[in-house]
Symmetry: C2
Subunit: 415 residues, 2 copies
């Protein structure tokens, strides 16, 4: 039996036990996982050194090496993340509907775990801990498939967590790591209907596209974000400028940062030079349409391809539009249904934008950077769904659950 | 451009309009659709005759011809179905969550349409009307792909419904029928990411498996049901027998009927002959395990293959088990997560069964035949989901919706 199938079967074998656990038992296990990370931090850091050395030998970029690196403070952060998950209410067992039928049947709709969740992700080893904590808190088993660059760290982290689980009510086998980092192990997971209940990809666009294109297991698509901010004619400069700067430069590498700025021509005439100046002083390369070039100096013209690119970098497209309709049309064409913002003092325009833009999160007068489980008050997130099925936007614990109808009868039969 | 792509694009083009409609406007359109079916019933029946003649020429079975046949009474039933959908509350726009953050952001989670829904189905032309009504009521556009046996009926029905829509606020293009009944048109729909938001297959196991195996578009899997009834040691004969008979013979052809009866050995010793007699008098062929054969005469032994078969017919597997654990293990092995029942007077056993069995609907002391949108009080259903993502069990109108976060700010930026 392949590693993927064997470990997924082991994970599935724990579902009956997981399903019986109380919130207190699951929380106790998560606390033990957190403690074990701290106790074993030196062996984890040693394993991480292997990844870093391999990375340096392979010529990995310093920014990627930085994301991969673990130290005492980052491990403390991972443990703290688990303790925060402990604090969150356990959604399992919640009664979502209660129906009493004329024939006396009582029907309860109850939250239950999804089952076995496959997580396919890339470099950062903190995802290993996060995903394990969120899935186990919701009574799911989890099969992790991290990238090759972090494999030594991931192996050690999962060993440590499994040892902690061995002293808890959660079976250690509920947490599995696929150690084969060849592409074939991903492909096998994507077809493992009957063993995996869902696969969640976390990472770049090519990882996600591979999963969406090849999975027969249900998928929750996450991530890719070409987000827009539209400055309407009535936007105020002192509100618009901070929102634009924040959406672009506060953390350009993430999915909820802005890639294209749409500007009403009236606003552009009055204020685009000021906005551009602030962007430049934040090291943002500016690409723009022909009309934009009438107002400001551009680094280059923006092409259709640019409008369709998630830069995740200090680069911004700017397009001047005639009106709200043109802005909406641009977003329809190039948006990825992630996060979109309008800055305006016109309430009717705001309402139209929020109503018509088809995206997980639509903003009036706030930075798109807020699309995040913590910022929404969910306490934690497993990712940001950009699909419409099951969960949309930042996914907290309830996104990792399914439901089940429990029906209580006294001998009813159907007429 | 292919028919599938062209019609799906036309459907997608109506989303902005659909998204703006009020419940009253959508209900008005559905009433006009219902009226049009009655007004045009003779042309619909004439088109249906073409299907029936073609069916007879092709040697279609009489039971299939019966399911295909339309008459005034069945068309009246279809129109009445639309009027019942009108009566249901419109879930679109419902506020599911309201969050106020310390920084002043107001976050609303709102129900929105899914977008463009593809429905792939087989013979019965009433699905054409049902699916159109349910999807349009929830502000979705719909692309229907029915089977070749009903193509003349489906074409005429969709023409009639589109003509009705032309006099309503719903754009006629929001309802599309794929007339190409070759397998290639299904395959194309399954890969139409970006144009179709979800595909829902309704039909037999092979149709559903093809969709699940080949779709890159998100799928809601429906249907296949290998449902069990377990008669525990303490079950009462006068409750157990009617439940067993009802689950097997009230309508054997549907997914929530029983395929395998599990019987505790104590109950078998006391009552299996009586149960078997009643099943036989209802023309049920009995297959069973070796232990069953000690109590009753079987038509043949039940094989592993039998336990894994959805008969949808007057055939039943019977298996005698030692205890609840063996029953649970059998259901884990052969169940399809649809509907499962325990008949018992032992409250602890009932609770364990309802807790541990992983299925959309789990019953204590009632027939599995109740797994149905109308029986649950939903007023209508688009199908019964046997997957865990998005919707599970009978799917009413909310299953045809997604959500969206609307965020109201006053210039907030992320720290």
């Amino acid at each position: 039996m392949s590693e993927v199938r064997e470990k997924s079967s082991l994970a599935k074998g724990t579902l009956v036990t997981l399903n019986r656990l109380t919130a207190a038992e699951k929380n106790d296990a998560l606390m033990k996982m957190a403690d074990a990370l701290i106790e074993e931090q030196h062996s984890i850091i040693a394993a991480n050194q292997e990844d870093l050395e391999r990375g340096r030998a392979n010529g990995t970029s310093s920014s990627l090496l930085d994301r991969l690196a673990l130290n005492e403070s980052r491990i403390a952060g991972m443990a703290e993340g688990l303790r925060q998950i402990v604090e969150l209410p356990d959604p399992i067992g919640d009664e979502l509907e209660h129906i009493e039928r004329p024939n006396g049947l009582k029907i309860e709709k109850i939250r239950v775990p999804l089952g076995v969740i496959g997580i396919i992700y890339e470099a950062r080893p903190n995802v290993t801990v996060d995903a394990a904590g969120l899935c186990l808190k919701t009574g799911n088993a989890v099969v992790l498939r991290g990238g090759s660059s972090a494999i030594s760290s991931n192996k050690r982290i999962v060993e440590v967590l499994q040892q902690a689980l061995a002293n808890s009510a959660i079976p250690a086998a509920a947490l599995q790591l696929i150690e084969d980092t060849n592409r074939a192990s991903v492909d096998e997971m994507l077809k493992l209907n009957g063993l995996l209940d869902v696969v969640i990809p976390r990472g770049g666009a090519s990882l996600i596209q591979n999963v969406v294109q090849n999975a027969t297991v249900p998928v929750i698509e996450t991530g890719a974000g070409i987000c827009h901010t539209y400055l309407d004619a009535t936007a105020k400069l002192d509100m618009a400028a901070p929102i634009v700067i924040n959406a672009k430069v506060q953390r350009p590498s993430v999915c909820n940062s802005m890639e294209t700025l749409l500007v009403h021509e009236d606003f552009a005439g009055a204020h685009l030079t000021s906005i551009a100046e602030q962007l430049r002083s934040n090291n943002v390369e500016l690409r723009g349409c022909e009309r934009t070039a009438r107002y400001i100096q551009l680094d280059q013209n923006a092409t259709e391809q640019d409008y369709a690119t998630e830069y995740n970098d200090y680069i911004l497209n700017i397009k001047v539009v005639n009106d709200l309709d043109e802005a909406l049309e641009h977003i329809r064409q190039f948006g990825t249904m992630h996060s979109e913002c309008i800055v305006t003092e016109n309430a009717a325009h705001a309402e139209r934008f929020l109503q018509e833009v088809d995206a997980a999160a639509v903003y009036h007068n706030a930075s798109t950077r807020f699309t995040d489980g913590n910022e929404f008050g969910f306490g934690a997130e497993i990712g940001i769904s950009t699909q419409k099925l099951h969960a949309r936007g930042p996914m907290g614990l309830p996104a990792l659950t399914s439901t089940k109808y429990r029906i209580y009868g006294t001998g009813q039969i159907r007429q």
